[in-house]
């Protein structure tokens, strides 16, 4: 259990820093989480984060890393659908870190 402060408001997270409620998310939430990790969000980061939001809206699923890589390759282009590109953006693990910034639950398929 935890909270993060975004624009003066407290938002609940679980023990791993994932939002308790997907609907609490906005761009500011992602930026705040990233800042805590000393990570500056570039347009390339936002592309993945927004991709995950859309993916979740479509499938109600937080994709595991292999799945995320494959899905991004299919939808955003081969040059982005590889783990090197995604790990450079999200060094703590593309699925876990990006899903967290996107306000999604922990990825399904984390074993």
């Amino acid at each position: 259990m935890g909270t993060i402060s975004v624009a003066g408001e407290k938002i609940e997270t679980d023990e791993n820093g994932y939002l308790n409620n997907v609907a609490d998310w906005n761009d500011e939430v992602a930026s705040t989480m990233a800042k805590k990790d000393h990570c500056e969000l570039t347009p390339a980061h936002w592309e993945v984060i927004h991709f995950l939001r859309e993916y979740y809206e479509e499938y109600e699923i937080a994709p595991a890393v292999r799945v995320l890589t494959k899905a991004i390759g299919k939808r955003l282009g081969r040059d982005k659908g590889n783990s090197k590109y995604l790990y450079e953006l999200f060094p703590y693990g593309p699925a876990k870190q990006a899903c967290r910034y996107a306000g999604l639950p922990k990825p399904t398929g984390c074993v």
């Binding site: 479509e58 499938y59 109600e60 699923i61 994709p63 595991a64 299919k74 399904t108 398929g109 074993v111």
Partner: protein, 121 residues
């Protein structure tokens, strides 16, 4: 783990009335992460799991059935639906939310026999 096994997950139960369909789907997604040769089979009331336009908002449950459409991203490509079960329920492949292979009961029986492991719920 180098061993690759043929693992089939058999779905014979309708969604929503019980949790089996939802948790079987979770099982399928995890199994796929282990690089196994995964097959999903839908027969009897299990074919209802794949029906499109399911909207669970009125019953306030998570709409896990949307995730069936993400199965190709999990590299689960063998999704079999039994023809006799579809027919008995007045359904056709056009009523389903995902691309499936429709097999008759005899062919499905052969595919079951070829498995190393069969999970059911």
């Amino acid at each position: 783990m180098a061993t690759k096994k043929k693992i089939m997950i058999v779905n014979r139960k309708a969604p929503h009335g019980t949790i089996y369909a939802f948790e079987s789907l979770e099982m399928a997604l995890i199994t796929a992460a282990f690089d196994q040769d995964v097959t999903l089979a839908f027969l009897d009331d299990g074919v209802y799991q794949l029906v499109k336009n399911q909207d669970t908002r009125p019953i306030e449950t998570k709409n896990f059935t949307r995730a069936y459409r993400a199965l190709p991203d999990y590299e689960i490509e063998k999704i079999y639906v039994e023809r006799e079960s579809l027919n008995a329920r007045g359904l056709t492949p056009a009523d389903l939310a995902v691309a499936v292979e429709v097999l008759d009961a005899d062919t499905l029986a052969q595919r079951i026999m070829q498995q190393d492991v069969v999970f059911s719920a």
